[in-house]
């Protein structure tokens, strides 16, 4: 079962090529003494490409598998099936030693900046450390590079000698970014990098990411539950639900004309900071079912207002139109002019 897509965009050489990725693990709960532990399918057949220089967003609610996808790419979780290729090189099943040179190219930033930093190490030393590990440059150059980078992510010279707890959340996330970028990675994977920050600080980090992208030619995989930020930052977006991609396409198009009923409900549920705006919210009933016991057929059908008998029995494939806007839905409304 491979509900993958071949779109016009994937014809170029992608930086990251993910095909039919699965991650299933046994639950810690057992049914009976010697009974099987139920299988939790956190990621279930995910495929997408990221082109060099692109910002690719993955959105979805908690438990949809977006963070697990990031961990699978970074080899922090074991894929039970499928392939992850980086510039044509297969990453799944690679040994730790084989991963080390790749770590320079694939860097990541996670949600909690305080937990990501060593509390007993000065900011500057934290940023120098990756250079030492990967044996790049001499001491003086390392120091100079780290100082320059820290300043370019917006830290003042006076802050470089401080410890993480002396900085604010936004400043810490800048340090984490600098540490990820010091090795000049090609792909930066961000998992909820701004969720722990205050509203006014979030915008600072989003702008910084945008600036770094254009300055360094960075490719971005941006995972977030915040659709507005993803729309703002990303070129293409995938929407995940219960371990599967239900809709994927160019950000502008996907957000302005969403096709999958889940995407539409998700977008309509976002409160808008505009008291005059008409609210026509598509109310979703209930909450996503457990990944340990997903429904048959289309995984969204129990909450979908358009669901038919067909949806209950068969899982729809992710099918793309000419513009690379893909939807996994039997009932998705595709504007007439685009069907062509």
């Amino acid at each position: 079962m491979m509900n993958s897509i071949v779109t016009s965009e994937t014809s170029g050489k992608p930086l990251l090529r993910i095909r039919n990725l699965h991650c299933a693990f046994k639950s810690s709960k057992r049914c009976s003494l010697f009974g099987p532990r139920p299988l939790i399918h956190a990621v279930n057949g995910v495929s997408f490409d990221i082109q060099p220089g692109e910002a690719f967003g993955v959105v979805g609610e908690s438990g949809c598998g977006k963070s697990t996808t990031a961990k699978l790419i970074l080899n922090m979780a074991r894929a039970s099936e499928g392939s992850v290729q980086y510039r044509g090189q297969e990453l799944t099943g690679l040994s730790d030693a084989a991963w080390k040179p790749l770590r320079q190219k694939l860097q990541y930033v996670f949600q909690d900046p305080l937990g990501a930093l060593d509390p007993r190490m000065r900011v500057l030393d934290q940023v120098i450390e990756p250079l030492i590990i990967h044996q790049q440059h001499d001491n003086a150059t390392r120091r100079q590079l780290a100082e320059e980078l820290l300043r370019s992510v917006g830290l003042q010279s006076s802050q470089l000698g401080k410890y993480p707890h002396e900085l604010s959340g936004g400043q810490r996330q800048r340090v984490v970014l600098a540490r990820a970028l010091i090795l000049k990675p090609e792909l930066l994977i961000c998992d909820e990098p701004i969720s722990a920050l205050d509203v006014s600080i979030q915008a600072q980090i989003v702008n910084l990411l945008q600036q770094l992208r254009s300055e360094m030619g960075l490719t971005l995989l941006f995972i977030s539950h915040d659709l507005s930020v993803v729309r703002h930052l990303c070129d293409r977006v995938a929407v995940m639900y219960l371990g599967q991609i239900v809709e994927m396409g160019p950000a502008r198009q996907l957000f302005s004309a969403p096709r999958h009923p889940y995407t539409r409900a998700l977008i309509s549920a976002i409160p808008k900071a505009d008291p005059g705006a008409r609210r026509n919210r598509i109310a979703l009933i209930g909450e996503p079912p457990s990944p340990a016991d997903p429904p048959d057929g289309c995984r969204f059908h129990p909450r979908c207002s358009l669901a038919t008998e067909h949806c209950r029995q068969q899982m729809p494939d992710l099918l793309a139109d000419r513009r690379g806007h893909a939807t996994a839905c039997f009932e998705a409304r595709i504007p007439v002019e685009e069907v062509a």
């Binding site: 709960k29 057992r30 009974g35």
Partner: protein, 310 residues
Amino acid sequence: MNMLYVLQKLARALLTVLLIVTTVFVVLRLSGDPAIYVLGLDADPRALDVFRQQWGLDLPIWQQYLQFLGNCLQGDFGYSYFEERDAMTAVLERLPKTLLLMGITGMCTLLIGVPAGIYAALHRNSWVDRLTMLVSVAGFSLPNFVLGIFLILLFSVTWQLLPSSGSGTWQHLVMPTLTMTVAEAAVFARFTRSAMLEVLNQPYMRTARAKGLRWHQAVRRHALPNAAIPLITVVGFFVGTLVAGGVVTESLFAWPGIGRLLVSSVANRDLAVVQIIVMLIACSMVFTNLVIDLLYGWLDPRVASLRTGD
């Protein structure tokens, strides 16, 4: 909680006991020849051989082990070479004394340690809290034998108020219990305090207050039951430290319990007695932990559902 879960726990407990018995058996056989201990170093080699033959000590160790297990199953736990009688009888004779000491110590510990910890937590940073914590640090950092000797010097030697050794009257009980209670109660007070502080900061305490419960009501109905959960675990360790402390304390005050018996039997290589005592201690700890596990599942529904896949 289902039957299966209980059975599973029981099976594990039995396995643990078997493992301990085996280890004790092997270690004791390897650590010295009882014949030499009983008959003396300069005994006639033939007498030694006869002794070994009599007690099956000349057989290969695995045969001795199987024989030992078989005997145990039949209720025969061996013969005390030193006391020259059934080892079980020798141990059982001493058991009530030890249980008395442990029982009183246990009760005093819970009655002093837990309320002190709760009070300290509820009055955090007050002078009572600070004093309690100061006393408790002193309490558990003072080794049993130091405190015991100190008490003997004070109450028996200087003031001549209490007997320094033996058993029989309530006066004999005072110093051994006191010695053991101080350290145990100190640990309990500290642990209760931190468990309570943890619980008091939980969001559900705010919810309980927001719905209209008074402070003391919220503490009684929501904080105490939750704080009890980690405390139950400590009771498991408690039994262990009680036994260890008991051995020292009984020796110090010449209290005729199994702790003292254990020390002298080890010195005399009285294998059967040592084995029984160690088995007894192991069984009591395994049993306590079994009870705690089951209690845990009963007190905390999250644990029960995690384990049984509810």
